[in-house]
Every structure is written in C-alpha cells, then in structure tokens.
C-alpha cells in the first residue's frame, strides 16, 4: 500500500502518514460475518487487548481478516501518562501480537489509567504541564524502542481540567508528537466532546494540531447528559461531529478514518453506512484527484 504525503507531511521530521481509506472496528458481534464473507471495508481496527489470547475464535477471526484486509492495532491500556513503571509484560504481549498480525500501525491514548499497579480501564486526562510532557515523551520513546516502531497517540474526551495545566490540550498533544517523534490519532468526536465540556473552540484545536503528525481520524457518537457530553461510542456520529470532520479533512487532507462503535453495537451494515458517509464527505471536501489510488 503506498504512503500518502499530503500538505506539509513532506516537511515532517520522520512521521509518514499511510492512507488506508475508511474502516470500521472489528467487534465480537460481527465475528461470524467476518468469517463467512469479506465485508466491503478498506481496513479494520482491533482493540489490541481483546486479542492477547493464545488461540480460539477471536484470533482465528483476526487472522482470517488480516489475510484479506489491512489491520490496525488500537490499545486502551498502555497508560502512557501514568507514573507507574511501564508494564513490560503488557508491552511484550503487544509486540507478540504485532509480530503475529503485522498491523499497519499501533496506537493508544494520550492519557493514564493505572496507578500503583491497579487498572481503572478508563482513559484519564493528564495535567498539561512541562513535567507531564517530559514524562510522556520519555515513555513514548521507551515504547517505540520496545516495539521497534512509531506509535500514534489519541486525544481523549475529558470531563475535568487540572488547575495546574500551563498549556492547552492541543499544545500538549502537538509537543508530545514532536518531541517523541510519534504520530497523532485525532479523534474528532473527542475534540467536540471536550470542547463542549470545557468551553474551548474545537476549530481552534484543529487549527493548532500539526498536520504532519496526524496519521488517523476516529469518528464516534456521544451522549448528551445535559450538563456535559459523555463519550459513549454507542450511537451514530452526530451532525456537529460530521461538520468538524469536514473541517478536519480540509485541513489535514485524506487521513485514514475509522468509525468507532463499542456499545449497543449495530448490524455491520449500519457501521459500513457510517463509514461510507465519512468517505462521501471526504470526497465532497477534497478534489477527487488528491485521494490516492490503490491497487
């Protein structure tokens, strides 16, 4: 698959974006469909930890899918921002799975979710300080060294902001990517949710993220709880997020885009329909000739 250079990607230090098209998550309710047919999708993303098993149906499905479709590994437990030591066993399992399925890339979240060896299985925000920045950068270097590849880090939805933060979330995200020489998985829904929850301008966020570092988009649904938006991944992508996506496509060009749907998972057709909508919107925004052709 050819690498796509777009905008100022060509001036980046060393991150090269690879364009895969439009994908969906590989989730258990659709396993039988994936075993019996090849759904029309450009690529799939897996939750890495769900495939750490030694055998059985999940791995069989994954290997069948991998033989036909590009796969990306997306983790939820790296806990890159935690002050706990990096979990060597976890990294070994991640590396083992990557060796087995040869993903297009590996991503996780710019957050923390473990403390004193206890895991919350949640994506907690960091204070945006120089100390946190240096801590994360050093750990990203260590992870990339262990995995022998660059990783992508995703911005998370958040409900709290730390008093001690000295920079904006987008400044922190961009600096992590630049100093650690990693990529960014830009979750458009998370930007929208956090912008509403904290009262910042989602467009300003987009405008400040370094184009050259963005390797993937996430799109998802959320729930409106009245006082705040909750990142639930249990509904179609809402209109304001589609609008923000169009704005992101304008700025970042063609970026591999994935629909996330993790709760109340619908029939595969509905997921594919959402993915098709993302593709159509991208076509509307971009000149058709700027989208790479694939063999």
């Amino acid at each position: 698959m050819p690498a796509c250079r777009f905008g100022d990607v060509g001036r980046s230090m060393s991150f090269t974006r690879k364009y895969l098209g439009h994908g969906v998550g590989l989730r258990q309710p659709h396993f039988s469909r994936w075993l019996s047919e090849k759904p029309a999708v450009d690529w799939v993303e897996i939750i890495s930890e769900n495939f750490f098993s030694r055998g059985g149906r999940p791995l069989a499905v994954l290997e069948k899918v991998r033989a036909e479709t590009p796969v990306v590994m997306h983790g939820v437990s790296l806990s890159i921002g935690s002050t706990d030591p990096l979990n060597a066993g976890y990294l070994a399992e991640l590396k083992q799975l990557a060796a087995r399925i040869q993903p297009e890339w590996i991503s996780d979240h710019l957050c923390w979710g473990s403390h004193a060896s206890k895991y919350a299985h949640d994506l907690w925000p960091l204070p945006y300080t120089e100390e946190a920045l240096a801590h994360v950068v050093q750990r990203v270097h260590a992870v990339q060294e262990a995995l022998q590849r660059q990783i992508l880090l995703e911005n998370v939805s958040s409900y709290v902001a730390f008093q001690q933060s000295t920079m904006s979330e987008w400044e922190f995200l961009g600096e992590v990517a630049r100093r650690a020489d990693c990529g960014i998985l830009l979750d458009i829904n998370n930007i929208y949710v956090s912008a509403r929850n904290h009262g910042f301008d989602a467009q300003e966020y987009l405008d400040q993220v370094p184009v050259a570092r963005v390797g993937q988009f996430h799109l998802a649904g959320h729930s409106d709880k009245g006082t705040h938006l909750l990142d639930t991944h249990d509904a179609p992508v809402p209109d304001p997020v589609w609008l923000l996506f169009q704005s992101a496509v304008k700025r970042f060009g063609p970026v591999s885009t994935l629909i996330e749907w993790d709760d109340h998972i619908p029939e595969l057709e509905e997921l594919l329909c959402e993915s098709g909508k993302a593709a159509a919107l991208q076509h509307q925004v971009l000149e058709p000739r700027s989208i790479p052709e694939f063999a």
Partner: protein, 258 residues
C-alpha cells in the same frame, strides 16, 4: 503538586468517591457553574465502578443471572473494593472472583455460586486457549498391543478437568434455558470442560472416567489410564468406550510412543 501526587489524589477520589469533597476537588480541578469540579470528578468515579461491574457481568453472565441487577452490582462492588483490577486486560478483572466468593460466604446467597463462577471462568479460559489439531482414533488402531500399553496421550490445551463440591451442571443448564433454578445440591462431581471448534462444552464424568482422564493428563501410559476401570464389570470395554469418546470429542492432540 508533582504528577505522581496528582495522579495519586485523582485515583483516590475516583476509587473512593465517598472522599470527594468540594474543597478537595477544587484544589485539583477547574469547574464551571453548570458543572462544578466535584461533579466532574464524580463522572469518573461513576464510570470506574460501572465499567468494571459491566465487564464482570459480561464475563460471568450465568452468575449475574442468579441475582437482581442491583444485588449483583452490590456484590461486585464489594469484590472490586477488595480486588481492584491488577491487569491491563479488563477481561482479567474477575480472576479472583471465585476465591472471593469462597472466602466470603453469605447465608443469603446460594452456596453453589463459587462453583458456578468457577465453571464460567474455566469455560472462558478454554474459549481462548491455544489451538491444537486433534487426531482421530485410527492412531490407536495402528498400535500393537504392546505399544498400546506404553503409549501416552497428549491432550489438547483446551481441555480441563475440574472437581466441584456442588452439582453445578444442572444449575448451569437451568440458567442457560432460563428455567427456574434447582435448589443447591451438595454432591462432589468432576466436570470435563473442553472446546471443539469454537464452541465450549462441559460434561459430568463418571468417577472412573474422571480418574482415567486425570491419569492421561499426567501423561501416564495408556495401560495405567485404562486401569482406572479395573473395578468395572467390563473394564476393557468401558476403557475403550471412554477412549473412543475422547478422540471423538477432539481431546487428543497426539499419541506418543517410546
């Protein structure tokens, strides 16, 4: 405040929400009139417990089926307070649940729930166990009598033998079929639990067959495996019948001769 101290304080607030106080939360976080800092922290505290209980409900659906939703939530909250998740895979959050249920019996609960949870846990482990291609019974037919006696079975990894204090199979079946649950019945029994293709099965084994399988799992020669049936009316026939069924169920990965 250092990053480590900030994370320790945040973790304490989220995992012990009873400690959330407006003043303490405000020291760390910004709030708004619509959503004050303590309410923002409480969003994370609520998600912490709900997410983990939800994972336990997914991993132990039969156990959850015995309880009303709020009863199950309360029991799992007690479990999580004692055994917070210590593994990056949320699928491991229930790995101490069987021990917790055994160590914390409650007269208001059925006494066979630890056995039920153990069966669910083993079935989940087997679902994800290493794949192995089983062989069929023709391998035995090709052996002469002398080689047969010394041969050893190598069993597939996705097979376990478990001993239970209570009759857990009827309870499982009633929950599976959504029938009224039978009363707990204390009566020691052995279950074989295995995977065939992508499906997991379990079956109660007769005493002789359980002993034969136990010996086979210890890589005893077939002569000793079959000797588990020595008190049977027709020992050779009974042993042959059991061995044949093991091959038919895909339990045997190899037949190893010296």
């Amino acid at each position: 405040m250092s990053l480590a101290d900030t994370q320790a304080a945040f973790f304490a607030l989220v995992t012990q929400p009873e400690t959330i106080r407006q003043g303490r939360a405000l020291e760390l976080f910004s709030g708004t009139p619509e959503l004050p800092a303590d309410e923002r922290v409480r969003i994370y505290a609520n998600m912490y417990l709900w997410r983990l209980v939800d994972a336990l409900r997914n991993d132990f659906p039969k156990l959850a089926g015995v309880f009303e939703d709020d009863e199950f939530f309360a029991l799992m909250e007690k479990y999580l307070r004692r055994h917070p998740s210590g593994h990056p895979d949320v699928g491991q959050v229930g790995r101490h649940l069987v021990r917790f249920l055994r160590e914390h019996p409650d007269p208001s609960r059925r006494p066979d729930l630890a056995d039920l949870a153990e069966l669910e846990q083993v079935r989940s482990e087997i679902f994800l166990e290493t794949d192995a291609d089983p062989i069929d019974a023709s391998a035995i037919a090709a052996l002469g009598a002398e080689k047969f006696a010394r041969a050893r079975l190598r069993l597939v990894p996705a097979l376990q033998l478990r001993h239970f204090e209570y009759q857990v199979a009827p309870l499982w079946r009633s929950l599976d079929e959504e029938h009224p649950t039978p009363p707990p019945q204390r009566s020691a029994n052995d279950l074989a639990i295995w995977r065939k293709g992508f499906s997991v099965f379990h079956a109660v084994l007769a005493m002789e067959e359980a002993e034969a399988l136990r010996r086979a799992m210890r890589a005893a020669p077939l002569e000793q495996v079959c000797a588990a049936y020595s008190q049977h009316d027709s020992p050779a026939q009974a042993a042959f019948s059991a061995l044949s069924s093991w091959f038919a169920e895909g339990w045997v990965a190899a037949l190893e001769t010296d």
